[in-house]
C-alpha cells in the first residue's frame, strides 16, 4: 500500500512517499517558502538524484497540488496514477487533551483540530491547511492525523499540572503536554525490538537531542514524564530556546529591557539556548569546534547543555525508580560523541556505564554501554515519518470501504 506522509509547517511542506508492507521510501522532498517569494519544491528520488522545481507556490493547497503533480509525473514520478496513493498521513503538532493516539480524519476530528488551534497557533493552522488541501484534491483517499503530543497523554495529573491556580487549567487547558511524542515512541519501541524485550516492567529514558530537544521517561511502554511542557520552550537547553527558566527572571528582564510579550517570546525562542550562551552559533558542530580552540563560552555552553540533560536523566530515574535503557536520538544525540560521554559521566551510581570505545560512533543503531552496565545505553536514529506511515497504514487497513 502506497502512503504519502505530509508535514505542513507555516511556510513549508515536507513530504515522504512510502510503500508500506515493505516500508520503503519511494520519493521524498520539501516545498519551501510557501506564500513567499522564491518558493521551490526540492525532490529526492529513491535513486538519490535530486530535482529542484521553482515557481510561485501561493498557499499550501497549491503546494500539495504540485507535490501530487510531481509524484505522478512521467519524468520524476513514483506512481503512474494518483489512484495508487491509498492513504495520507499528516503530522499534527498539537492534539491537546483530545487525542492519545493517531486517528482517522473525519469531520468531528477536524472540528476538534480547529478548536485546538489556540494551543498551537504557529503549527496547527498549517497542519489543517494540508488536510483541507488533500480533502479537495484527493477526496476519496483516507487521511490520518498523527500527533506530536499524543504519546505523552499517558502522563498523570501530578506530572502534567503546573503549580499555578487550577482555574487556569479549567479555563485555558494550561498544563504540560510534551512534544516529540512520535520520536520518543519510535525510538523506545525500536530499542526494545533490538534488545528483543517486551515493554512490561522496563524503564526507558529517551533523549531526543536535535535542534529542539526533549527527554521522556517511559515505563511499561508508556510515557510517564517529558521535559517539554505547555510549549516546546520548557526543559532542556536547545539550539536557540532557553529551556527551564525562572519566571521571576523573565518578568525582571521584561521590565529592565522594556520589552513586551512578543519580543519576550522571540528572546526565549530565538536568542537563547546555545546561541545565546555561546554567542557562537546554534549549531553544535560549530560550538564544539570553537570550544576545541579554547573559546570559553562555547565550553560553558557545552557544559550547561550536558548538565541539564544529566539532571533530567537523574530526575527521571528517580521518578521511575531506576532506568533500564537510556536512548540517544536526534541530530545531536546520534552524532555528538563527546557530549554523550559528558552526559553519562558520574551516572554510574544509577547503573549507567558508557563504553568509551563503543560510544565512538555516529548515526547508527548501536549499544554503547559497557558489558557490566546495568542500564543499556543505545543510539537509535529517529524516523518520525516512518511512524506516521506505519500508523496510517494500521488505521487505514482496518477501515472497511464496502459501506
Amino acid at each position: 500500500m502506497k502512503i504519502l506522509v505530509l508535514n505542513c509547517g507555516s511556510s513549508s511542506i515536507k513530504f515522504e512517499f512510502f510503500s508500506m508492507g515493505e516500508e520503503t521510501v519511494l520519493s521524498k522532498g520539501i516545498v519551501e517558502k510557501v506564500g513567499m517569494k522564491g518558493s521551490f519544491l526540492r525532490l529526492e528520488k529513491n535513486d538519490g538524484s535530486k530535482v529542484n522545481f521553482t515557481g510561485d507556490v501561493l498557499d499550501h493547497k497549491i503546494g500539495v497540488e504540485y507535490i501530487l503533480g510531481v509524484l505522478s509525473s512521467e519524468k520524476h514520478g513514483a506512481v503512474k496514477s494518483l489512484n495508487e496513493i491509498k492513504a495520507v498521513g499528516h503530522r499534527v503538532v498539537h492534539g491537546g487533551e483530545d487525542f492519545s493516539g493517531s486517528v482517522f480524519i473525519n469531520d468531528e476530528v477536524i472540528e476538534v483540530l480547529e478548536k485546538n488551534v489556540e494551543l498551537a497557533p504557529l503549527h496547527n493552522p498549517a497542519n489543517l491547511k494540508g488536510i483541507y488541501a488533500l480533502q479537495e484534491l484527493l477526496p476519496d483517499v483516507p487521511q490520518v492525523a498523527v500527533f506530536d503530543t499524543a504519546f505523552h497523554q499517558t502522563m498523570k495529573p501530578e506530572v502534567f499540572m503546573y503549580g499555578i491556580p487550577y482555574a487556569l487549567y479549567t479555563k485555558y487547558k494550561i498544563r504540560r503536554y510534551g512534544f516529540h511524542g512520535t520520536s520518543h515512541r519510535y525510538v523506545s519501541a525500536r530499542a526494545l525490538e533490538i534488545l528483543n524485550k517486551k515493554p512490561e516492567g522496563l524503564k526507558i529514558i529517551s533523549c531526543h537531542l536535535g535542534n529542539g530537544a526533549s527527554i521522556a521517561a517511559i515505563k511499561d511502554g508508556k510515557s510517564v514524564d517529558t521535559s517539554m511542557g505547555f510549549t516546546p520552550v520548557e526543559g532542556l537547553i536547545m539550539g536557540t530556546r532557553s529551556g527551564d527558566l525562572d519566571i521571576g527572571a523573565l518578568t525582571y528582564i521584561m521590565r529592565k529591557e522594556e520589552i513586551g510579550i512578543e519580543t519576550t517570546s522571540i528572546l526565549v525562542n530565538k536568542f537563547s539556548g546555545m546561541l545565546g550562551i555561546t554567542g557562537v552559533s546554534s549549531d553544535m558542530r560549530e560550538i564544539e569546534e570553537k570550544a576545541g580552540k579554547g573559546n570559553e563560552r562555547a565550553k560553558l555552553g557545552l557544559e550547561m547543555y550536558a548538565y541539564r540533560v544529566k539532571k533530567y536523566i537523574g530526575s527521571y530515574a528517580a521518578a521511575m525508580g531506576g532506568v533500564d535503557i537510556l536512548i540517544f536520538t536526534g541530530g545531536i544525540g546520534e552524532n555528538a560523541i563527546d557530549l554523550r560521554k559528558e552526559i553519562c559521566k558520574e551516572l554510574e551510581f544509577a547503573g549507567i556505564n558508557l563504553d568509551i570505545d563503543k560510544n565512538n560512533t555516529r548515526g547508527k543503531e548501536t549499544i554503547i554501554s559497557s558489558e557490566e552496565s546495568r542500564c543499556k545505553i543505545m543510539i537509535v536514529p529517529t524516523n518520525e515519518e516512518l511512524v506516521i506511515a506505519q500508523d496510517t497504514f494500521e488505521i487505514v487497513k482496518d477501515i472497511n470501504y464496502s459501506d
Binding site: M36, K37, K50, N52, L58, Y66, G69, L137, T263
Partner: protein, 327 residues
C-alpha cells in the same frame, strides 16, 4: 556529484487552470523619510521586496543607513536576529527612477506632507508619475491622512485603482492599517488591499474619506488637550503622561506620544485639520509651537517635551543638557 536539475514548477500542476501568481511580491514606496522607512521595514520584514524612491542619491544612502540602524536597534532589543536583518536588507532597494516601479503590484506615496494644498499638488504629481510607469492594475495608494484620495486620483487614467492606506506608526506594535476607499475606488482594489494588509500581519480597518481618519484625529485631540492641561497648570507634564498611562491605560502618555511622532509633524496634522474643519479644537497649541520654533521636534532631535538620548530613550536626569548625535 551529478548536477541538480532545475525545472519550472508550473508544468507539474494537476489542473490545467492558469496558476495565480504571487500578488504583492514587490511593493513601491515614494519617499523614504521616517514614515516611508517604517512602512518599508514593515513590508520587507514580511518577505516582500520593497523599491523606494528618493530625490537624490544622498537621500537614498541616508535611508539605507537609517533602515540599518533601526534593524540594529531591534536586534539590541531582542526583536530580530542578525540573519533576519540581512534578509530584510536584501529586500530593500533604493532608486531615483520611477521606472523601477514597473513590476510593483502596489505603490505607496509616503512623502512628507506640508500644508494640505501644497501637498495635494505634489501628491497628484507623484500619482501621475507612478501611473506612467506601472501596470494598469497596479494599486496606487497614499499614506497621507490629510489628502483626500478621490482628489488625488481624479486626474489619473485608471482612477479606480487608488486607495488610502494609512499605517499607524505611533504605537510601538501598532497592528492596524486604516483603509479608505475613494469615490472611484473599485471593490476589487479594496479586497486586494485588505489581503495585502493581512499579508504584512496588519488588521485592515475600513474608514470613510475624512481628513485625519480615526487615528490622527483622535491622537491629535489627545495631545492638544494634554497641552491645555499643561498650560493651565493643572498638572506637570510627567503627571499628565503618568495618569494617561496608569489611569487610562495608554502605552505612552500624549506628550510622550507627541515626542515620538515628531512635534513638527503634530503641528502639521493640527494645521491641516484646523484648515479642514475650521474648529478651534484642532488649532495647534502655542506650547507645541513654541517648542517647534526652537527646533526641538521630540525624540529625533533628542528634545521635545522631554529630553532623550540618541537612541530615543528618555534621559533619567531631565535637567541635563542634551547632546544629540542625530544633529
Amino acid at each position: 556529484m551529478s548536477e541538480i536539475l532545475t525545472e519550472p514548477i508550473e508544468n507539474y500542476a494537476l489542473s490545467k487552470n492558469a496558476r495565480p501568481h504571487m500578488k504583492f511580491s514587490k511593493v513601491g514606496i515614494v519617499g523614504c523619510g521616517s514614515t516611508g522607512q517604517r512602512i518599508a521595514l514593515m513590508i520587507a520584514s514580511r518577505g516582500i521586496e520593497v523599491v523606494f524612491l528618493e530625490i537624490s542619491q544622498d537621500k537614498i544612502d541616508e535611508a539605507y543607513e537609517e533602515l540599518e540602524e533601526q534593524l540594529d536597534e531591534k536586534i539590541n532589543h531582542w526583536g530580530l536576529t542578525e540573519s533576519e536583518k540581512t534578509l530584510i536588507l536584501s529586500r530593500l532597494y533604493g532608486t531615483l527612477d520611477y521606472a523601477d516601479f514597473a513590476a510593483c503590484d502596489l505603490v505607496i506615496d509616503a512623502i512628507l506632507s506640508k500644508t494640505r494644498e501644497f501637498s495635494k499638488d505634489i501628491r497628484q504629481g507623484v500619482f501621475k508619475n507612478i501611473e506612467e510607469h506601472v501596470k494598469p492594475d497596479t494599486i496606487i495608494a497614499t499614506n497621507s491622512t490629510s489628502s483626500v484620495i478621490t482628489e488625488l486620483s481624479a486626474e489619473l487614467k485608471y482612477r479606480d485603482r487608488c486607495v488610502s492606506l494609512h499605517f499607524s506608526t505611533t504605537a510601538p506594535d501598532a497592528t492596524i492599517v486604516e483603509i479608505v476607499r475613494g469615490l472611484y475606488t473599485k471593490e476589487e482594489v479594496c479586497v486586494n488591499v485588505r489581503k495585502f494588509a493581512k499579508l504584512i500581519n496588519k488588521i485592515p480597518v475600513p474608514v470613510e474619506e475624512s481628513p485625519g481618519l480615526v487615528s490622527v484625529r483622535l491622537g491629535v485631540s489627545l495631545i492638544s488637550e494634554a497641552c491645555n492641561l499643561l498650560m493651565e497648570g493643572v498638572a506637570t507634564k510627567e503627571d499628565i503622561d503618568f495618569v494617561s498611562r496608569k489611569g487610562i491605560g495608554m502605552s505612552l502618555g500624549p506628550l510622550e506620544m507627541a515626542d515620538k511622532i515628531g512635534l513638527q509633524r503634530v503641528v502639521r496634522w493640527m494645521d491641516n485639520l484646523y484648515n479642514e474643519f475650521g474648529d478651534r479644537k484642532y488649532k495647534p497649541s502655542p506650547i507645541i509651537k513654541k517648542i517647534v520654533r526652537a527646533k526641538h521636534y521630540g525624540r529625533q532631535t533628542c528634545e521635545g517635551f522631554y529630553k532623550y538620548d540618541g537612541l530615543g530613550y528618555k534621559l533619567k536626569d531631565q535637567s541635563k543638557e542634551v547632546q544629540c548625535p542625530n544633529d
